[in-house]
Symmetry: C2
């Protein structure tokens, strides 16, 4: 079943203690689309400048990702982000951001995109997320991801968004920031009270927690011996979830479906961390993902 | 099957943002013994001063804990620790420590204690841990816990100890410190290379990882909506593991046995966090522990 993924497409420059890479394909929607495309047709909604490299475009279409809803601004510059990771890979700082074409983003969906049954609003401004959501007329299952920036500068719009989504995804520190508590379980429940039926709190190397109406599901993360670049892991996670759910071929999901989606998203995210940018994710096969999923289940199953 | 637990017995004064409590029963061996005593006879090896309150002694013996190997130093003062937790409950600072009788601790085991088949060397100096270990003549399964203090001031003795134990338990930050890596999976494997067949890395609210000879097992922690006082949670975890293993009534354990012990220890540790000091742990029943274990399994089982 087709998935619509709306978010950012970017050119990322990434510094770690081991290497620096310039202008890699990045952005929340790029990672999420590649993750979802492993199992499903994906329609991507984003904006780029005319400087967006043909090779990045080819990489996306080569994975069966439909770019009809990606606006290309003639003479515009693609959104760029430069970041540096600390030695422990769990903390990063933004060195530079050039918003450029993102500022004029006014998403417009074609009829096929507006009819999808699974929609992922990957991380971007809540305004843009709501613009996309309003154009989806097929009563889709709606997943939204966000980040601290929007909690800090667009809290009210984010709250508006949360009343319209089925599943809200956010990372641990941001969840605590959003609802002002140091207890993660309390944070998850408070976020649910803001609207979404389901909340997923991403904990990076420590896994994720899914909060349902009257249930909770927790999972660890796949144990990586080395992390080359965690950029996009959270986006991959959300895209993997969306892809898993769309792959079920229906629109009503049980708590067990959502739990499995969390595990699947978490396993896909582990691949993203293994190389810089989308490199590992773009090379990933379904068999590799399935094999790691089995391995993961074996080392988390209580005897 | 009887468990021998050697470690510290202390009087703890604990400051959190919600309350301050003075001279509570504490110490690694007190928490661990109460945890193991839920399912097994426990022999405790420790040292206290003559100021050690009769009510604390009564609490321990009331749980069937044999104090014959607890030395009481006439005129000596019991080890005291005062600490303060930060608001997030994940970080604490030591405000005061009075070693007192601990300085002269020369553990001596009676014949019953030296014949046990499961030994937990709870957190104390590696010298004391090795002293106890040498007196155990029943070829026991040996678990040892430690902390950053000993890594920093007694690294060589700790390395000696590690060559003699079956299972080494340590928390996440300390594991990374010990083997100088930021990657937890690498840290676990490096610790194994130092001797122990099994290594457990405790991750507090994020659960624990068990490293076996050629397998790995990961578990989350029971989701607590509120933490009153995390003091002793790690000791409870180790004591719970020792108790679980002793309860199996044999001395050779499979990887699945160890995995189940990790889950059981983790669940017991969650009770300790719910109230100050040993209060919740001391009131815990087997039925409550079993019920939480079932609940925990339900919210971590992949569908």
């Amino acid at each position: 079943m087709s998935v619509l993924i709306a978010g950012t497409v970017a050119l990322d420059s990434i510094h770690t203690s081991s290497a620096i890479h310039h202008e890699l394909l990045g952005g929340s929607a790029a990672y999420a689309a590649l993750a979802a495309a492993l199992t499903n047709p994906v329609q991507l909604c984003a904006i780029v400048g005319s400087d967006f490299p043909a090779e990045h475009r080819a990489l996306l279409t080569g994975h069966g990702i439909d770019l009809d809803n990606v606006e290309s601004v003639e003479g515009g510059k693609t959104f760029r982000w430069t970041g540096r990771y600390h030695d422990d890979m769990n903390h990063r700082e933004t060195l530079a951001v050039s918003i450029d074409v993102l500022e004029q983003f006014a998403p417009k969906l074609n009829p096929a995109a507006s009819a999808v049954r699974v929609l992922l609003l990957a991380n971007m401004s809540p305004d843009n997320q709501i613009d996309v959501l309003k154009q989806c007329l097929g009563n889709p299952f709606i997943i939204a991801d966000s980040m601290d920036l929007w909690i800090n500068i667009a809290r009210e719009r984010l709250q508006d968004l949360m009343q319209k989504v089925d599943l809200f995804v956010i990372n641990e520190d941001e969840a605590k920031l959003f609802v002002d508590t140091t207890n993660l379980i309390k944070a998850g429940h408070k976020l649910q009270e803001m609207g979404p039926k389901y909340v997923v709190v991403k904990k990076g190397e420590h896994g994720a927690i899914l909060f349902g109406p009257d249930q909770l599901f927790m999972t660890c993360a796949y144990p990586l011996r080395a992390v080359a670049d965690p950029t996009g892991a959270g986006d991959t996670f959300a895209g993997g979830m969306a892809g898993y759910l769309a792959g079920l071929g229906r629109k009503d999901f049980s708590f067990a479906d959502l739990s499995n989606a969390v595990v699947y998203g978490s396993v896909l995210a582990s691949f993203t961390c293994e190389e810089f940018g989308v490199k590992r994710l773009a090379a990933l096969t379904r068999d590799e993902a399935e094999a790691r999923l089995s391995e993961f289940k074996a080392c988390t199953t209580i005897g």
